[in-house]
């Protein structure tokens, strides 16, 4: 069983979690709070020259769309904090979207790797959801 299949199987075993697998990664929709869900995209790429072989697992979750330049600056200032999750702009849509992202090096053969990715996913989704709520209410971070 490949690493992504293992992830999909594990995450899909939760009743409230929806998992969509594709060739590029996983789309996981998970509950964040009461009546609120968040979708996270999980992708991975091999890190060359590592022994044991490590992969860089990236978890991205969409927070919303910044409608002015102030939010761009605030997102950059947010990145200067001590939290693990970063904010970035995604230009795969128009207008560019604000995403929460975290990338971690993982040993895919480590039995705890799925749990670590789950933790990362929850953390990223929580940040994105929090931002999404703030953007929808006051348009301020």
């Amino acid at each position: 069983m490949s690493f992504f299949k293992r992830l999909a199987y594990m995450f899909g075993s939760h009743k409230q979690v929806k998992v969509q697998a594709s060739s590029s990664g996983l789309l996981v929709t998970l509950p964040i709070a009461a009546k609120r869900t968040q979708t996270a995209k999980i992708t991975a790429k091999i890190i060359e020259g590592t022994d044991p072989q490590l992969i860089a697992v990236s978890v991205v979750s969409r927070a919303g769309f910044p409608e002015n330049h102030k939010l761009v600056r605030k997102a950059l200032e947010y990145n200067a904090g001590k939290q693990r999750v970063a904010l970035c702009l995604s230009d795969d849509c128009e207008p560019p979207a604000l995403d929460a992202i975290l990338c971690v090096p993982i040993d895919p053969h480590d039995e705890h790797a799925p749990i670590e990715i789950w933790d990362v996913m929850v953390e990223v989704a929580a940040v994105a959801d929090n931002l999404e709520r703030q953007l929808s209410s006051t348009d301020e971070l």
């Binding site: 790429k45 890190i47 590592t50 022994d51 044991p52 490590l54 860089a56 990236s58 991205v60 330049h69 761009v72 600056r73 997102a75 950059l76 200032e77 947010y78 990145n79 200067a80 904090g81 001590k82 939290q83 693990r84 970063a86 904010l87 970035c88 702009l89 995604s90 230009d91 560019p96 995403d99 992202i101 990338c103 971690v104 090096p105 040993d107 670590e116």
Partner: protein, 546 residues
Amino acid sequence: MSKWDPQFKSPRVELLQPGVSPADLDSGVQSTDEKVVLGCCDTVVKLWADSRTDIPRGRLEGSFRATEAQRQPVAQLSIETQIIRRRIEPRREPARQDAINDRPLPTGSPLALVPIEDAAFPPETVTAIHRLPGGESISGCSDCDSKGNNPCTACEETGQILCSACRGQTRITCERCGGRGLLIYPNGTFACPNCVRTGSLPCGACGGNGRTRCAICSGNGYRTCGTCDGFGRVINFHVLISDTSTQRESQIHLTTEWPVDVPWLMGDMETIWAEDVELEVSRGRVAAFDTNQYSPPISPRMLEQLRGAIEDAITTGSVARTQVVTARAVRFRVDGCYLHRVAYSLNGKPAPDSIYIGGLSNHIQVGSLHENSKTATAWAQRPLHGLLRAIGLVESTGPTSSFKKRIKDKGGKVHLLDTNTVVVDAVEGLGLTMDVTDIGYCVRGHANIPEFTVELTHDSKEGKLVVGFIGFLGTAYREHFAPALLMGKHLTFGRIGLVMNQGTGTLEFRLFDTRRYDDLNKESYSVVLRYLLDTATPRIRSRIGK
């Protein structure tokens, strides 16, 4: 600073731990770079490291080298003060006879009435009571107004009290039928044969009277006075109560204040001098302590410290009161050994800290403290965590309480960091050098230019240690804000952040990366660092940096 004693050349054990004489205690710090001494320190530290489970075996081989050694004598002064607290109390006893000793007490001083016992320095407080001869008198007993007895309050002088069994009711409830007078069976109801259907029985305890004889006064209605035992008169006399206890205290004396706790030395010193001092008592107070009471062959400086410590101990026990309190005897001992501070290098680079070696028989304890830090910051690094633990500065859960207190008193912060050397190993694995700072590491690149810093901080929200990477990217201009945020999506590790340079007031882009310490190992953090340095930094600088 004097030169190293030239005679200080002998085999290893003697070299590091020669006998200490009282005169040596006045010696200052000696330093040397003699190869014999340094080689000895080398061997001792390596042997010590090999004996510890928290330092990989052979870790120091080929990399550790003692570069300079200093030593100074350390003395532990232990003082025991026997404190005698005496007081005179009046007492009474029944006047069974008329003969009394009515001569006045020979003196009013509790110390002079009864000879002082030999100094025993008891481990726990001992109380002795002496009846004083003389000063006796006979008087009527005030407790019974000289009657010899007192009315019994329990029975109010009647000699009888209510029966506790029937409470004065003269009858008790029949236990067999529960007071119903009837016994109920499945086949019918029958009269109780025990009480003959009355439900109660005459009280056996009082014989149906409802009252019994008062047990306290035996039915007399009065009680013999306990003070005069019925004589109506008492003899007044005095007793001397003497409490003897021992107060103990220890002090460590070093010529120079080295930043190291030395409690681990206490059990590992040789006794070089000990003396008892009998103190004279005058008018209920301890006479002035006279250092001429003894003439030990001890150094002037140590003598001065000794005298101060003993006078402190005496003062504690010589509070003058009407009822005299006094310290009566003092005994003390001086233990000593040499404490060594060894500067060293690891892999040819001078270490910013020192190693301390002390004790007897090369029962070596090694300790280290980061001394270059302006604050009293303690670091737990390889192998310093083990060293710090060895000297009691830190324990598995963090700094010890005594060390915290010292830090609190002297200022500064305590960081207990990188105990598994993940960061150090990863940085060194990339061929980079680093300096320890107050909050982490400042890593230098190949041209010895500061490349980035790694901060190790405690995330109070999650309760975990967090490893933060901060690299300088360049001045930030507004037109680069959006491109910088767009680049973040394409970075494998790290994020671009915007900070205000407090010194210049300009905005700067910096490369940040935050990891949980528990999630990292040397390999994974090497991957992250390599990417941040070799890929992310040049790419970002080429696009949005200056």
